[in-house]
Amino acid sequence: MSNLAIDARGVNKTFGTGALAFQALKDVDFQVKRGELVMLVGPSGSGKTTLLSILGCVLTASAGVVELFGTNITSLRERQLPVLRQALIGFVFQGHNLISSLTALQNVALILETRGVKRRHAHDEAAALLKRVGLGDKLNSFPDQLSGGQRQRVAIARAVAGKPPLVFADEPTAALDAHAGLEVTKILTEMCRENGTSVVVVTHDNRIFHLADRIVHIEDGQITDGHTAAAAATSATAH
């Protein structure tokens, strides 16, 4: 069995056609080991979110091969991808993206219920996860009754609910202040490490680099280099 959670080779993505065509990714090779936490960094428009979308099975590559745990997702039909997302992937979005009509508990439990967990167990597990992220007293609060940091913590609980083997986080600290940003990323990394989850975090925020196992830089749709977290953190501090 391969030790790779993600194995992307020669991935290209072009938006539009003809004169309006824009190549967002150019022959990208990207690997993540099982249980590894990788931060994907780069300037705006560098292609990191496009890469994350392809790895997260919400966007198809124009060319190249992407394997998740040995399953070639580029060869799958579009209608097969939702099952893969549901079974394997947890998402943390930049804007939390909670369902406004559901309480914190229901937001987390929904993911478990759709994965086949019985309702009562789903609620018990969701409550435990929310307590774990420090929201034990906010189980029945709706998203609009929570602060930005609290919402993102609910989003993290939702992403790790059911212990998916992969979690993708897109700028999870972007809408938070420095303290809250660091706090939620710590929670995310701790929970994922406990579960042995592979994590890819797209971020600009160099204050959280030290939490990663590896930092991968992407620029103009190409991977430029990869560092260990310690080297990247040192580099960021120097800057």
Binding site: V83, F91, S101, E113
Partner: protein
């Protein structure tokens, strides 16, 4: 490094595939919560359905009431077969026929009883001056076929007394303040009020009942003529059999069973008078309701586009989202139908009178939620098309 569940990727995928019912249940619950959470939108959408139900069901209730007013004479008459002038579409005053038809009917196999019925237009003079139109019904008192029904005062035997009539209670004031024993001039003759019926008001003038001889006198119809022949079928025969036999023996009149006559009156009224007018207002109510529900559901989807995108990103399919919208549609339809039918029932009680009955029959109660559900499901198609086109990748933008 990893726990067993993570390593077994295939097992996780299989579990998700197996879990159809759990996903169905979760999405049904989510659909309901989403609809109920946005209370103003929920109320607005349900009001749209209520509006459609009230307008459509109230119009149909009035239509059923009017149809009933015009078929009730046939429906309440114990005759099972009618011999009517050619081309007859209603049970109202019309051409006269020969009494030979009555004799022919009486000797036809399968006929248990056959009676003449007089139905003629006449007038009543009011004590204060002026006159009102009446539909005079002359009845064979031995068979009572076509006799008065819904009697509120009096006994039909009193019609055997000379110059005695039954009038319609609901218009007694309009006819000049009638009371039992009142004497009035009908068709130029002095008659006496012997009893009252209630609610016998077709589109034409109110029914007024007399015995056959008196009716012939008041309407100036000779003894060798009549308007209808009413037949009661002998046991062992069906109305259809007797009607067929009569048709083979009679070529100067139409023979029609009670059921067929009822249907003929209804279809004629719908085609000629009521259908277009009530059909238009009913359709108008449904169209308005459809538009309100459609716009409300569409705007709800647009308002929550990011949430729908998120649901797609975390693995829900278009079918799952379709189920959510369908559940919302059914809820709007059922809640709106229930409240709407309740309001229509109250309105029916409030506005029903002897002249206008608003009838909400069981078929309307059953059909309304079904029609509204279909309407709401169709109305959700626009919202669904927007959701179906939604790219899950939009959540990253």
């Amino acid at each position: 490094m990893s726990n067993e569940a993570q390593l077994d990727v295939a097992a996780r995928i299989a579990q998700v595939k197996r879990n159809r019912w759990g996903r169905h249940r979760a999405t049904i619950g989510l659909g309901l919560r989403m609809a109920l959470h946005a209370k103003p939108k929920f109320v607005g959408t349900v009001l749209g359905v209520i509006f459609a139900v009230v307008l459509a069901a109230q119009q149909l209730g009035v239509l059923f009431g009017l149809l009933d007013k015009n078929t009730q004479f046939v429906d309440n008459c114990t005759a099972e077969v009618w011999i009517v002038p050619p081309g007859t579409t209603y049970a109202n005053p019309g051409q006269k026929m020969s009494v030979a038809l009555l004799n022919q009917a009486r000797v036809t196999p399968g006929v248990a009883q056959a009676s003449a019925l007089i139905m003629a237009g006449t007038t009543i003079r009011k004590p204060t001056g002026g006159a009102e139109a009446l539909t005079l019904v002359g009845v064979d008192l031995d068979t009572m076929l076509g006799g008065p029904y819904n009697i509120v005062v009096g006994d039909t035997n009193i019609l055997r007394q000379a110059d005695t009539l039954f009038f319609e209670d609901a218009v007694r004031d309009k006819l000049g303040g009638l009371n039992i024993g009142s004497v009035r001039e009908v068709g130029g003759y002095q008659v006496k009020v012997g009893g009252f019926t209630w609610g016998l008001l077709p589109f034409g003038p109110p029914f007024t009942f007399a015995n056959l001889d008196l009716a012939r006198t008041l309407a100036n119809i000779p003894n060798d003529q009549l308007n209808f022949v009413l037949i009661k079928v002998a046991s062992g025969y069906t109305p259809e059999q007797v009607a067929a036999t009569l048709r083979s023996r009679i070529d100067t009149a139409d023979v029609i069973t009670k059921t067929a006559f009822h249907k003929k009156i209804v279809s004629t009224l719908l085609k000629d008078q009521l259908g277009i007018s009530f059909g238009t207002s009913t359709a108008f109510g449904l169209i308005i309701g459809f538009i309100i529900v459609m716009l409300s559901m569409y705007s709800s989807v647009i308002d929550n586009l990011r949430e729908f995108g998120t649901l797609k990103a975390v693995g829900l399919t278009n079918w799952d989202l379709m189920r959510m919208l369908a559940v919302q549609s059914v809820m709007y339809a059922l809640v709106g139908s229930l409240v709407g039918l309740g309001l229509v029932s109250l309105m029916a009680q409030g506005i029903s009178s002897a002249k206008l009955a608003v009838i909400v029959p069981p078929v309307l109660v059953i059909a309304t939620p079904i029609i509204m559900t279909v309407m709401c499901l169709l109305a959700s198609l626009l919202a669904l098309s927007r959701v179906a086109k939604l790219e899950p990748g939009m959540v990253f933008r």
